[in-house]
Amino acid sequence: MQRTATAKPLHLSLVEAAEAIRKGELTSVALTEASIAAFKTKDAPVNSLISLDAEAALEAAEGLDRLRNAGRLLGPLHGVPLAHKDMYYRAGKTCTAGSKIRANFVPTYTSTAVARLEAAGAVTVASLNMAEFAQNPTGHNAHFGDCHNPWGLDYCPGGSSSGSGAAVAARFTYGALGSDTGGSIRLPAAMCGVSGIKPTQTRVSRYGAMPLSFSADNVGPLARTARDCARLLGAIAGHDPSDPTSAREPVPDYEKALDGKIKGLRVGVPTTYFFDDADSEIVAAIHNAAAVLREAGAEVVDVALPHMAAVSTYGSIVSRSEAGAIHGQWMRERAGDYAVHLSARIYGGLAIPAAYYVEALSRRGPILKAFAAEVFSKVDVFIAPGLRKAVPTLRETDIDRSGPSAIDAFNAVSSNTRPINYLGLPSISVPCGFDRNGLPIGLMIQGRPFAEARVLKVADAYQRLTDWHDRTPPTVA
């Protein structure tokens, strides 16, 4: 759906907003003011915000408008206001990581991802709520208050990039950086009904992003559409000398790949793991999505995914072990400053034997090779639900208030996203329906390493034929 620059500019997609600025139909100042006003007047029930940077944002927007009026555009995001998960360092700005422990941390340098977005013309308006230290899949936060799902305030917005999903869904911002170690981009995207892509491991620099897991952390965007995500990913992807682990793989023009043509493309529907014990309405939504792709010309086939027991077992310990190492000192000195569910989670990581961790890491490459050889010889992408169950409430997954009885519901949230992190594959979540409670259902699409363009292409083709991504939550006026 192509919208024009109307009285509700925040209802434009990111790409539409950028285009309106480029053509002179809207100014960066107008859009930045609208975003700031939305956060100030509408965020209270959602609680997606940690801090606004209104003065600096408006100053930046004014400068970008002057540049545009002089006929110069910085890049494809010129003038577009964004807001990011509060774990991306910006020199001189407080970066809490959603925690009490780092509540007053002020970094001296700026993360590469934010720097690249701003170099492409984006304006940084706000820092967003998140799971404490990016370590829960639900959106609970004991220090800044739980983030709430704009589609139903009693429900989880997904985590750990909870504010990113909620703020994009609520039309407070056009796009947001999230991070994904076990599903933290895709879960809020799925549960809040927006689009979010976890790139291939190493695709985007992690310099200046708070670490959770050296092996599984990923930087990526959430936005309204796959095309929006393509634009944001294009700005941040690529090797960064400041992050030696970032890949030297060339970055293609992701938007150029979005031509809607998926005729003959092979789409796999897993016969193993991802639908185990799934709600029937979730299964139906994914099969309906597959039918849409088939109508668009894709060849939809069943595919058995190999080694899923190993992927699941090994994948379950890597990030926990690494988080134990990262947080060990604070666990010794300040355990009481963590939320209950977080210190509980980190504690378990300290108990995992090093031999298990090393085995899990050493098997990662061989398992990826075997998985890719088996799966991607048969299909180009495979699809799966982001969650097997309907979106849970904040209450039923609240370990801090309910105690250990909530652990199973809490852990179940990330059962479909976490294995993809172990495999390192690119994976996008786009909305594909609603559950019985009126909460969104997410369709995950996975491809080969560095096949972000293909994954985005399929997602975009799906969104050309559906309007789930255009629906607005009832809390949005």
Binding site: H341, L350, G365, P366, K369, P449
Partner: protein
Amino acid sequence: MPDPLADQIEKQVLTWSAVALPNEAAGAMAAQLASVIEGFEALRGTLVFEDEPSSFEAALQATKE
């Protein structure tokens, strides 16, 4: 009833990492590591890869299009 694995983990983490059990939920989550142990047991001897050892980064490059 005390969980033997949870008790063992409590001693292990205190000994090796000097971290005390922070709360009841931590004990419950630690006890759930039993399923991880079962998972590792189930995998023993089932995976044979000719090209081990292999770096993950190399595998990403080897499996791209």
